[in-house]
Structure formats: C-alpha cells, structure tokens
C-alpha cells in the first residue's frame, strides 16, 4: 500500500494494490476511484484531504491477533441446589 499527499493541491493518493488500472470513476466530485479489470478498487484520490481526511494527522497501527490463553481445567462444579 502506498500513500502520497500532495500539499500543493491538498490531494491524497492511496494506492491499495500496484495492478493495472483500467478505469477511473467518480465516487463524488472530490473522490476518484481507480479500478482494475475485475472492477476491484486499486487506488483512490481524495481531494481537499485536509478537510475530508484529517490530513496532516496520520496514524498506522498493525493490530495482531490475540493469542488464546490455555484453558484452565475446572476444579469445582457448580451444583444447582436450592438455597435454604
């Protein structure tokens, strides 16, 4: 994934995959989608990014899958007795 911000025009370009683009389509007046031959999105251009995408703030975090704790064997059973 590649991200480029062009401060000159406040344009944000995000490339999801480096594959041949066959069509550029409007999502709205300030957002363009680039699609591959299967119609899947491969890149995006966001105009006026400082207003619409919070630029220049940027954060990236890779959240790893949590590893499961080993299961603790039951040491007592819960009895469904009536209370006195």
């Amino acid at each position: 994934m590649k991200i480029r911000y062009y401060a000159e025009t406040d344009t944000l370009y995000i490339e999801f995959r480096d594959v041949p683009v066959v069509e550029t389509r409007d999502l709205d007046e300030n957002t363009l989608l680039d699609l591959d031959a299967d119609g899947d999105i491969c890149a995006m251009t966001i105009e006026h990014a400082s207003e619409r995408a919070g630029i220049p703030q940027f954060s990236y975090e890779q959240v790893t899958a949590l590893t499961k704790e080993p299961s603790v064997p039951a040491t007592s059973s819960i009895s469904a007795g009536s209370k006195n």
């Binding site: 480029r4 062009y6 025009t9 344009t11 370009y13 041949p20 069509e23 363009l32």
Partner: protein, 78 residues
C-alpha cells in the same frame, strides 16, 4: 503546459501514460463540454478518435491553465 505535482506523478502510471499532451491541449482549447466544480476547478471533455472514440476528461485548477488530472471518462455521456 503547467501541471500540478499530483498530475506529474499520476501521468506516469500505465493507464495514463498513453494520454498525449496534444489531447490535453485539445481539451483545454476546444472542449465539447465544460463543468466548473464547487471548488472552482474546471472539468473539460474532448472526444479522442485516436483512442477508439473515447472521451478524455481533464481537470484544471481555477487558474484555467494548470492541469491537475486527465483520464478517459467512461461515464461521460455526449
């Protein structure tokens, strides 16, 4: 031809590198349609017979002379 940094970069992409300067100039000088965006940028379209009759859209900055984008617009209805 004045261009923005974004366009300078994106025109190198394989789908855009085929777009000739002459066609962009044609769109600037003799568009078949023009639409001014809410932000003042200008869209102009031109018919390009050399590319199977596709329509090229260019986007100019409000100065009317700096090219910010150019691509073949499948959604354009003449």
């Amino acid at each position: 031809m004045k261009v923005t940094a974004y366009f300078e970069a994106i025109r190198k992409r394989p789908d855009r590198i085929v777009i000739q300067d002459e066609w962009i100039e044609r769109a600037m000088q003799a568009p078949i349609r023009e639409h001014v965006q809410a932000d003042g940028r200008i869209r102009r379209w031109v018919h390009v017979p050399e590319m199977e009759g596709r329509y090229l859209r260019i986007v100019l900055l409000p100065d009317g002379e700096t090219v910010h984008n150019a691509f073949f617009d499948r959604g354009f209805e003449p």
